[in-house]
Symmetry: D2
């Protein structure tokens, strides 16, 4: 299924930016799990727009409604869990032009081609960043379940528009003021108890494959690397190999973690560490070259409306959500 991932637990995302609702269907969450709805709400709020100078002004309530999957005590009951967020503040008028003039950097053109003119392009339709909200519902619940099993996941924005550390927010603000946008890099670490060494399956279902498949499904992601990643390509074997040692409790660990916790696709007990590269928000208020699909000739477009100057900023909890969904899927067989 195209908007689905997972092996033991299946996560399916649906909805369009300006349709009735966006939602997620999760099959096989473990039964009997309590959901802390307040904590979930706080997690969803982290990706909510309209929170400051640096994000879009679109007001999204992001209030999840649970249609199925809970029993009378509000615990997971084993049946497929479906949760939706209704779409309210949709200004489709903003997007009238784009059905003819695809926005550079967006999926307007490819959706038009793929669905032979029938795609719902309003607000990016099914390709909108809005679709990461239901991913965060599933991921927020997964994070709670994982926490009970000793797994913690934490991501942060480590770079934006080439700036690092304190400079990041200035770089974003500057882009915002000029109607431009910047890309960014999110780093994520997953800590887990030694008993979860051995996760992942050989070759194409290794931890890297499973995570990358999902991470590249987040809009705007153009690169994924684990441990030393691309830098490993510039190292020698002596530098890159992580030496094994044994600690006082008799547990095996490595002195460095260039492998990002993964050898042969399988977890080795060290934290799983990866980085995700986000391209700059394609929506910018500056005039851009495009084409008129109806007239088959060159044209121009200026994308109006409310936009994030840096999608990577709001993507931080989304990366955590994706990681949590995959991690819970992998440990659910043990």
């Amino acid at each position: 299924m195209s908007s689905e991932f997972g092996t033991n637990i299946k996560y399916s995302i649906f909805g369009q930016s300006h349709g009735c609702a966006v939602g997620v269907l999760v099959d096989r969450f473990p039964a009997g799990e309590e959901i802390n709805f307040d904590e979930l709400k706080k997690f969803l709020d982290r990706r909510k727009p309209g929170q400051g100078d640096l994000t879009t002004k679109r007001s999204e309530s992001d209030e999840p409604v649970f249609l199925s999957g809970l029993n009378e005590k509000n615990r997971t009951c084993g049946a497929p869990l479906c949760a939706i967020i209704e779409n309210h503040d949709t200004r489709s008028g903003d997007y009238a032009e784009i059905s003819d003039r695809p926005r550079p950097g967006h999926a307007d053109y490819t959706a038009y081609i793929k669905y032979k003119g029938h795609a719902d392009l309003r607000g990016g339709g099914h390709f909108s960043g809005r679709l990461t909200a239901p991913l965060c519902i599933a991921g927020g619940i997964a994070l709670q379940i994982l926490e009970r099993r000793g797994v913690s996941i934490s991501a942060k924005l480590i770079e934006a528009g080439g700036a690092k550390g304190e400079e990041i927010f200035n770089a974003i603000k500057e882009a915002s003021l000029t109607g431009n946008s910047v890309g960014g890099i999110v780093e994520c670490a997953i800590d887990y108890p030694q008993k979860f060494s051995g996760l992942g399956e050989p070759m194409f279902d290794g931890v890297e494959s499973q995570l990358a498949k999902v991470l590249f499904g987040i809009p705007a992601v153009k690169g994924v690397e684990f441990g030393a990643g691309f830098e490993a390509a510039r190292m020698s074997g002596v530098q890159n190999n992580d030496a094994f040692r044994i600690n006082d409790s008799g547990e095996v660990f490595t002195l460095t973690n260039n492998a990002g916790g993964i050898l042969g696709g399988i977890t080795n007990g060290m934290p799983i560490v990866f980085r995700v590269a986000f391209k700059p928000t394609p929506s910018i208020s500056i005039n851009q070259k495009t084409v008129s699909l109806a007239e088959r000739k060159n044209a121009e477009i200026s994308v109006r409306g409310r936009h994030d100057p840096c999608v990577a900023l709001r993507a931080v909890p989304v990366v955590e959500a994706a990681a949590a969904c995959v991690m819970l899927d992998m440990i659910s067989v043990l």
Copy 2:
């Protein structure tokens, strides 16, 4: 399935480095396709070791034997195609030590943990780079079928041990002489006719997700990026967005290709471009810190035997093979 990938066409890899054979099972290659066995052999020879100073001396004949999937005229017949390569030159003695002392950077330790002591660790077992040979059988055939449909795929080593261009081979040679190894980056481009615009499915089955899942299944891969990739994270929207234009034949194209041919996970008609980061070969002749699993104490290991100073070098056709398998899978629905 763990060592399987593909949606419409399924590719399953099996075998262990020092077992009877390694092989591939492909289900649903299009029927009626001729296989040019000479061309296939040439393709397999590109990943063959023992060809010069820069690769391991292990002699692999890599002669594929077809067990099923061809009709009496040696064309694909629609039934699952199974091809194997028998293992001959296996010196298991070289690896006796590693069942107790896992080699840093290899999957010995994780395989040991995952399979509770029952893994076949000889020569890396199912985690060996040897498993890329059957992937190349499938990919070599896929490349021939794709060529008939106007698709061409070409990869090259663009960086090794930090060196680029002419310097690459010196960097590898130097590592080889000191018993060390280096990582590298392989870049690959897929050219295809405009009718294959629209490939890929939204979200988690986008072209990037599908390719990344398979590429991270190649041993030693630690990073994958598309188009401008991680560099896009350092750019502004104005720089990164690819402007649309229309050519004299009325075809839409983009002035730049920072998207690597993919918008919203879907092909836009421009070449698919991606880069794959390989870590340095973990096998080095230099003493390394490890542990004794039996005695639960710190130990040392020096990996003897025949090894590549740079796996990325032999991985070039493997990347092409992986790309071909995925590409054929995607176009087979049209």
Copy 3:
């Protein structure tokens, strides 16, 4: 996914009998398809209860709400389609007893075991016949799309409680009056143009395998047979083999259709014919032997509430819906 089926098109059913809603998520319906909502409503009404003496009095509005998958012109847009039916007339009080005393013939006991006491057992939860309503939404749409491609599907109740023809309704009525219930057999035929010969994949994805997997997912189904079915086991080869002939248009057909249109799992151009055996509704008003799970001792139960004396009667459109979903899935690759 447990409540999902399909290969090219995926159909996922969710919801519990007494939860907020039941629904279906369909991924990859062809884009650009119009939905005739009146016709769909009529189709859903065919499985609606409360229509006469022979069905349960539970009032179900069965009004589908579309959450996603349609564009601004109400045509399928290529994105996953989600439709739900809200649950209103739920009397959970009727079912208070069953969490301790599983009803014979129902899934109460197995759901209790499987989900370790966390299952939502109200009204049968996710195992309720109510879950066939969203299947009928997907199937009703599939039937409309199939009709445009020349495929027609028609099922009927050919036997109930051992009675055939005119006697069927008396048999059901009699069971109803005594608080008892009867089983039944539904026969279904799929007619399709010759261009859809060749559907189905060898071995475990043959037409029979694909249909049977879905049909056995309908609550109360205990047997499925194709063509002559079990009767074929009592025939000789001379009797059972369907002789091939060619008609005036040069089309191949068979003189008989004992194969039910399927040879080697693949359609041969003749109508696909199958029969589905439904057990009697397990809910009966007569006292039955059960156990108390809390007290671990023998007990009795009398199932109150509104029930169908013959589920097979309302299952007729459900069988059509299941067949339509599978058929559309199979032809969507051509």
Copy 4:
């Protein structure tokens, strides 16, 4: 994948009747399992032809060769297990005619249509009953693993050509003498410890769905029923419902087993019981009506060669093998 089944363990069958070999690839057999090769050979011999008056004279050695999946101690090592049987006694000359004149009741015509003339039709190609041999390798191993976990599976031929009990073999012999053939019914029971109550997933991955999908993949199967099966359709609820009782050990059981051990698709602790209807062997020595595909006109064919008068007879171990593969798949998540 078309010739693949299984969720946690994947079983893929490949090969053609007159190709190099037939084989099976099994991914994720539990690691560390010993294989008793003598016992496996005995199991394979049960489906071997040429053993008496009642089966084809084709001599098949059925000696499995293991290409992968075992470690140096011949135990399963966690990596995909591939085993093949080479084809020797193939008389392709026998089948020269059928590429033009499809045999009634065989897959010749549908394979021809599906693969547009490229199918390997020799001996039935990938649709041949020969493909049940590799299924029996996988199933034979699965039976051994299941036995260690307390699960036993046993099938028998309960009907052939309408005859039951002692009369069965006369019915088959009579058909054989006249160049005709007969169908038959195989009944299978799976006994398992109470801890395996709760197997199966709701709706389309219930035990019935999973078993039926595989059983209908066995050539010649036209019907599958569980417990009372089609007979349940003729019963009343009072008769059909299995009353729950508790035994002295505090275990729940049912007084009857009309459900065949399955409620709501989930095992209830009682034996899983099902019956499989096989049509008569389509190969008969009597002249039959067919068509010439090249000349597009009516024709006749008489199928020469060695054939079984009743495929159901040799199918008994095949049904056990199929059941074992599915059962091991289901318990492997616990």
